[in-house]
Each structure stands twice: as structure tokens, then as C-alpha cells.
């Protein structure tokens, strides 16, 4: 599914959180929203998911050619992985993964045997087979992360949105999961957007990177393009590029 964000503006009480932001992601692409904290990247991700209230003050969100600006998160069905995973702590791993299937109306709900099968397949997919009966509190950070991913994927979304997916993990696990996510993305063919403040992560993982600062897009492009021609002083500074490459801005 193609995602198009057109001229989105969103104000928080006093200050603008996003100012005339446009982003386009092609089917199967992996996009990183990169920026320091307070740059508006998480707000943008939440607007795409339909989780941000009140709605944006201006602009549109399109999934393929469908305008979803005013659709609820329920209707958009974007897989969302939260920064702190937001697993249901009172449910087991299996129940967490099955959640999105069990809340469906009876007509579209798969039979219980099918749900069980899907749980097994998803756990294998995220390389954590056999953890069905555990509770989230009994898992490590990296495991929780992958269960959150399995839960989001259980409903077969066309889009995957990840908010600081590696933010709460230690360096070693981070690196492993990063490689794993890239492979995973390529296998599933999902359209994926992830938010990060870590430029190394963004550039290593993503096909395209969009750099945000103070609610405005500073530069969009492939990692190569951005590294070769940083658009302005902020980008040069944020990416810690040598001064010789600094653009005249």
C-alpha cells in the first residue's frame, strides 16, 4: 500500500507540532522518520496511524488513493508497534497475539483452530516459538519487542508503523534486531515507517530517510542522496557531517 501525507499541519496548544509536512512512501518501502526529540516525528507517525487527537488542523493522509484523514485507527488497520510495546500485561503471549483476531465480529473472525495455528506461525516468524503461555512481564525487552510485532502482524496489516522500535533496548540487542527487521521487512513486503532519533539506525536500515526538525521537514531522500548533499546546516550538524560537505545555507 502506498502512503501519502499531504501538507499536514498540526498545532498543540501553543506551538505548531507539524508545519506543512508532506511524505510519500511507496508500496514495500522502508522509510525512517529521523529527528531530535520534539521534532514532530512521533506525532506524524501517530497521525498516519489515526491515533492522534484532535485531528490535524490541515492536510490529508492517503492510503493508496483513499483519503483516510478522518478515518479512525480502527478503520485504517495499520500495524502499530509502540515505543514501550504496550503489550497487554494481563494476557499471555498467545492471547496478546490473538487479540486483534478475537475482537473481530463473528462473521470475519477466524475459527479458534485457525487462530491457534496463526499464533504458532507468527511466533516462529519472530523467532520465539514456544512462548505462548508466558506473560509479558516474564520476557526480556527484545522478546517483548518481537511479540508486539507479532501481535501487530496477526491482523495482516498492509502498513507497519514502528515508534522508536529499538529505543528501549541495549546496544547489542539493538544491532541484532535491526538486521532482523530489515530481513523481515523484505520478506513480508509490507510498507514500513519507523521513527528514530538515531541517525546510524535510520541510514543503515531504511530505503528512504525523512529528517524532521521543529515540525518541519528538513530533507527527504535516500541515505546516499542525503549524505552526498545535506540540504542545510541543521542536517549537516545533526548528522555530524564534516564541514567541507556543508551546504551553503
Amino acid at each position: 500500500m502506498n502512503i501519502r501525507v499531504q501538507n499536514i499541519s498540526k498545532n498543540f496548544e501553543r506551538f505548531p507540532a507539524l508545519n506543512d509536512v508532506s511524505v510519500e512512501v511507496r508500496q514495500g518501502d522502508l522509510l525512517a522518520l529521523l529527528g531530535p526529540s520534539g521534532s514532530g516525528k512521533t506525532t506524524l507517525l501517530r497521525i498516519i496511524a489515526g491515533l492522534e487527537f484532535p485531528h490535524p488542523n490541515d492536510g490529508k493522509v492517503l492510503f493508496d488513493d483513499k483519503d483516510v484523514t478522518w478515518s479512525s485507527a480502527y478503520e485504517r488497520r495499520a500495524g502499530f508497534v509502540f515505543q514501550h510495546y504496550a503489550l497487554f500485561n494481563h494476557l499471555t503471549v498467545a492471547e496478546n497475539i490473538a487479540f486483534g483476531l478475537r475482537v473481530r465480529p463473528r462473521k470475519t473472525r477466524p475459527p479458534e483452530s485457525e487462530i491457534q495455528k496463526r499464533i504458532t506461525v507468527l511466533l516462529e516468524m519472530v523467532q520465539l516459538p514456544g512462548l505462548e503461555k508466558r506473560f509479558p512481564a516474564q520476557l526480556s525487552g527484545g522478546q517483548r519487542q518481537r511479540i508486539a510485532l507479532a501481535r501487530a502482524l496477526a491482523v495482516e496489516p498492509k502498513i507497519l508503523l514502528l515508534d522508536e522500535p529499538f529505543g528501549a533496548l541495549d546496544a547489542k540487542v539493538r544491532k541484532d534486531l535491526r538486521k532482523w527487521l530489515r530481513k523481515f521487512h523484505d520478506q513480508t513486503g509490507l510498507t514500513t515507517i519507523f521513527v528514530t532519533h538515531d541517525q546510524e539506525e535510520a541510514f543503515e536500515l531504511a530505503d528512504h530517510v525523512t529528517i524532521l526538525h521543529q515540525g518541519k521537514i528538513q530533507q527527504s531522500g535516500t541515505p546516499k542522496e542525503i549524505l552526498a548533499r545535506p540540504a542545510n546546516a541543521f542536517v549537516t550538524d545533526f548528522l555530524d557531517l564534516p564541514n567541507s560537505k556543508k551546504a551553503s545555507s
Partner: protein, 300 residues
Amino acid sequence: MSSFTLAARTPNHDPKPVAYTLTVLAFAAVGLILVLPLVAVFAEAFSKGIGVFLHTFTDSSIQHSIAMTLKVAALAVPLNTIFGLAAAWSVTRFTFPGRRFLISLIELPLWVSPVIGGLIYTLIFGIQMPLGAWLDERNIQIIFAYPGLVLATVFVTFPFVARVLIPLMEQQGQAEEEAAVSLGARGWQVFWRVTLPRIRIGLLYGVVLCNARAMGEFGAVSVVSGVIRNKTVTIPLQIEILHAEYHFAEAFALASLLSVLGIITLVLKLYLEREPVLRPPLAPAWEDRRRQRDPAQPTS
């Protein structure tokens, strides 16, 4: 370094004798002010023997007062559970102007004298007021009847459920609810499958405290009751009547019933407080955890 050690000094680092003395004093004060009267209630209740104690509960007015208290609590507690949930939901899930003010307003019955709560209702529903007159014409009686008792009790016990839930829900944030929505859950499914299971201990805690207060309420209820025997008298009012009529043993026998309710509440409260989030003192620990966790607030 030395200034750091000084700054980290807490009462726990006081010399041992001081700590022991203070602890003993605290227990002595609690014993004298709280436990001794409780023991006295039971001592007095059984002062004329177990026969008189048991005989108290065969009296029809006393039985009626017990039934009345149960009936009032049976309606007031569920009502305040729903109000408390709704109030906590709205102030923790939405931001709107006057939100802080609303939170303080919910606590109003805690610092306003219960008598005022009773008086307000006698005023609103008294026949001299339009609403009271209108209801009176239709033979609907609020004051000096069961509905009045429930209203007064609801007023007094309004904050109990909301007060427990607001900080709890604020601390938990709403990432899990958002996750449920993004997985396709509808409003009610989110509530039953995610919100309610997460707050159930806190909710039970609030309900236990609310119930204890509802059954024990005297001030507000006495104003709207009119103390009509065998009609609008609850246990606390009945105790007052018995006491005023010099039936001390009976008064204390009935009082011991309320005391047992108090003790059960205390035990339940201690049991539920094994849940760390409900352990008093609540505020500082919550603030810390909130800062650490940073629930899904759109900060970046």
C-alpha cells in the same frame, strides 16, 4: 562527598533509640485513639452478656435499619462505581479546559461537611422549591424516603472510586488502549478487554472504601432521613436513637456490627495494597514512575 551524604540523610538514618522511641509513640497513639475505642465498643456490646447482644438483632426496628443500610449501599455503591469510572475516564483520557478544576471538584465531598450535602438535597427537593413541588404533585417523594438516603450517600461517597482510579489511570497511560484500537477493537471491547482488567484491583479498592463509607455515613443521611422509624433509619441513625434512649448495650451491639465492617474493610484494604500502585503514600512514587515511563504522550 560529605555534603552528598548529608543530603541523602533520611529519618531512617536517625540514631536507633530515636527511631524506636518514635515508633513506640506512634503505636501508642494509634492504640489509644483508634484501637482502644474499638475494643471498648465490643466490650460494651457484650457487657450484659451474649444473650442481650443476640437479642438486639431480633428487634424489628433494628432489623429494618440493617436492611435499609444494605439497600442504600446496594444502590449508592454501584452508582458511584459507574460515576467514578466515567469521571476517571474523562479526566485521564481527554484534555479540556477546566480539567484540573473538575478533579478538585470531584473531591469536594471530602472537605465539605456531610451535613451540607444533606441540606442541599432537602433544599432542592423540598416542596418550597419548584422541583420539589413538581415531584410532590406527582406523589414522588425524595426527601424523608429511600431515594433521599441514596442521594445523600452518593454525595458523600462520590470521590472514593474516582480518587483511586484517576492517579492509577494517569500513571498507566493509554498506550495499551491505543494498541487495542489499532488492532481493530471497538470502544466497548477496549473497555472490557483492556481498560477494566488493568484497573480491576484499583476499582475493587475504591469500591471497598466507598462501601465502608456508604454504610457508615451519618451526617448527610440524618438530614434527609427525617428519622422515621421503620422507614428511613439506617444503622448509624439507629445507633444514635438507641444511645439517646439509654439502650447502651443494644447501641453498642449494633455499633459492633459496623465495627466488624470496618475491620473487614481494613483487612481487604491491606490485602489489595499488596499491589504496589495502590500503596500509600501514593503521589510521589507515582510522579516518579510517570516520569520514567513517559506514557504515549506525543512528546516528539
